[in-house]
């Protein structure tokens, strides 16, 4: 099935590009933007397929992958900690009046537990990572592209795709789920502080209630979604960086375009994956 989809996508985009002849003649079938959109889809598909081709072939850049995990993951901890904590606290605070209006404030721990673990932690963490990591990758690789550092790797008999792209995509795919777990726990901590301040609920009781409505399916769904989000952050950031043109202006555009595209795709994936996981939640 994926091969069929891939072939269909290539066929459609190739036919479109052939008909429009946009690159050669400057004439477009519908519009310049639509032509470029199809070209982008085709190139991004190629780029992603190349990742899967390169990732299993030695030599493996383990040391560089670990360095990227540290750089992209560990160095995002402060931002993730502060935003997750504030999100948990503010969400609980805003939810309180609605639940209080029908005397259900005791539901706050389980309510926020479900919200944080199922929705807020994966989505907000991924969006923050899109801004911080996605733009970082896009700008870094983009600047390497325009200053010929990528060409320099290639002529030194080094595979720049393996060294720059495979390592970063693996790092984001591995680190974003870990950051999501961490952000979920910190979000719950923020929520606990708000609940404890108002209702004097103990930590043990809060956590027991918070996890009472969360099963393996909910946790697994969040983790699987965040693997997709992490992969998207890495591959789009690298693709935008690798396709940077027009000097320093292009680097800025690559960083900006990385963030916008990643965020759009994360929302799109969220809709599709939530639809996919819904039958598992409710049997």
């Amino acid at each position: 099935m994926p091969i069929l989809v891939r072939k269909l996508l290539f066929f459609v985009s190739n036919q479109y590009i052939m008909l429009s002849g946009s690159q050669r003649t400057g004439k477009y079938l519908i519009s310049k933007n639509l032509d470029n959109f199809f070209i982008d889809i085709r190139e991004l598909t190629r780029f992603t397929l190349q990742f899967f081709k390169e990732v299993f072939v030695p030599p493996y850049e383990l040391q560089e992958t670990i360095r990227q995990c540290y750089k992209l993951g560990y160095k995002s901890l402060f931002l993730i900690t502060s935003t997750a904590f504030i999100t948990g606290m503010v969400f609980t605070d805003h939810s309180r009046p609605s639940l209080a209006s029908f005397g259900a404030t005791s539901w706050l721990p389980s309510f926020t537990g479900v919200a944080v673990i199922k929705a807020l932690a994966p989505l907000i963490t991924s969006l923050i990572c899109a801004g911080k990591i996605g733009s970082n990758i896009g700008a870094e690789i983009g600047s390497m592209k325009v200053t010929e550092q990528i060409d320099a790797m290639e002529v030194s008999a080094i595979n720049p795709f393996k060294y720059l792209v495979v390592t970063r995509v693996l790092a984001t795919t591995f680190m974003v789920p870990l950051l999501v777990i961490y952000s979920g726990l910190i979000g719950l901590l923020g929520s606990f502080i708000d609940v404890h301040r108002n209702d004097q609920t103990s930590f043990t009781v809060f956590m027991y209630d918070a996890f009472s409505k969360i099963g393996y399916v909910e946790i697994l769904s969040s983790l699987i979604r965040s693997v997709f989000f992490g992969f998207t952050i890495g591959i789009i950031g690298c693709y935008k960086g690798f396709t940077t043109t027009k000097g320093t202006e292009g680097v800025g555009r690559a960083a900006n375009s990385s963030v916008v595209t990643i965020m759009f795709l994360i929302f799109l994936e969220e809709i599709l994956l939530v639809k996919f996981f819904n039958p598992f939640y409710y049997g």
Partner: protein, 256 residues
């Protein structure tokens, strides 16, 4: 001693390359012999950089053949191309140093990635040797942003030397440098040739560089080689395209 067919390091025949409607190279031919430095002279935009990017396999020609170290570079698969590139050094116009790495890391990078079983002490020894050859041992722990233009070029040359190439391609080695530093880089190019027994193609529009470092000069204009020979032979002509280039560069270098 006369060079034979077996001594040919680069052989280019009937090379064409265009970008959209702009025909950059129009049927070029070139032969580089072992131990020889050839200069490709030409104005900006004449296709000099395109030529060496085709030689290293970064660009594909539209037609024609390019043989490097007896291998047709554009017919090689990925593995063969990597193997061949280990024998070729390339100095970029703006050096293209990795700005997140120190001088040591920049220089050892090709070695570490390509000779994975090499011990740390051997790598350090090789790095120190090439940095010594380019006269830059004292900057080993600095970052590219802390180096001058001339020092950056030297590190670039050291990085190409670390894999002990048989052929070095220099893209505008003296561009953007003051005359004194240009002179130092020219001397360094000659020193590298003597010490490492390399053959080189030097792309430049700098006449002093051409005169000092070239055994043979090829004048590129409008996608073709107009003239070739030694410095005096190339410029002993009434062709306005050649005399114009000479006069323009002569005035420019005097102004500097």
């Amino acid at each position: 001693m006369k060079n034979t067919k077996h001594d040919k390091v680069v052989v280019i025949k009937d090379l064409y390359k265009s970008f959209e409607d702009n025909e950059v190279l129009k049927g070029l031919g070139l032969e580089l012999y072992k131990g020889e430095n050839i200069i490709v002279l030409g104005r900006s935009g004449s296709g000099k950089s395109v030529l060496i990017k085709i030689i290293i396999g970064l660009l594909k020609p539209d037609s024609g053949t390019v043989e490097v170290l007896a291998e047709k570079i554009h017919e090689l698969d990925k593995k063969e191309l990597i193997k061949l590139r280990l024998k070729i050094g390339f100095l970029f116009q703006h050096s293209a140093l990795y700005d997140s790495m120190t001088v040591r890391e920049n220089v050892e990078f090709p070695l570490v990635r390509n000779m994975r079983n090499m011990s740390k002490s051997k790598i350090n020894q090789a790095v120190e040797e090439v940095l010594d050859a380019v006269g830059l041992t004292d900057t080993i722990d600095q970052y590219p942003a802390e180096l001058s233009g001339g020092q950056e070029k030297r590190v670039g040359i050291a990085r190409t030397l670390i894999l002990k190439p048989e052929l070095i391609l220099y893209d505008e080695p003296t561009s953007g440098l003051d005359p004194v530093t240009c002179e130092e880089i020219n001397k360094l190019i000659m020193k590298v040739k003597e010490r490492y027994k390399t053959s080189s193609i030097i792309i430049t529009h700098d006449l002093a560089c051409a005169k000092q470092t070239g055994d043979r000069i090829l004048m590129l204009s409008e996608g073709k080689f107009l003239r070739q020979g030694n410095f005096e032979e190339v410029f002993d002509t009434d062709d306005e395209r050649v005399t114009g280039f000479y006069n323009y560069n002569f005035i420019e270098s005097n102004e500097n």
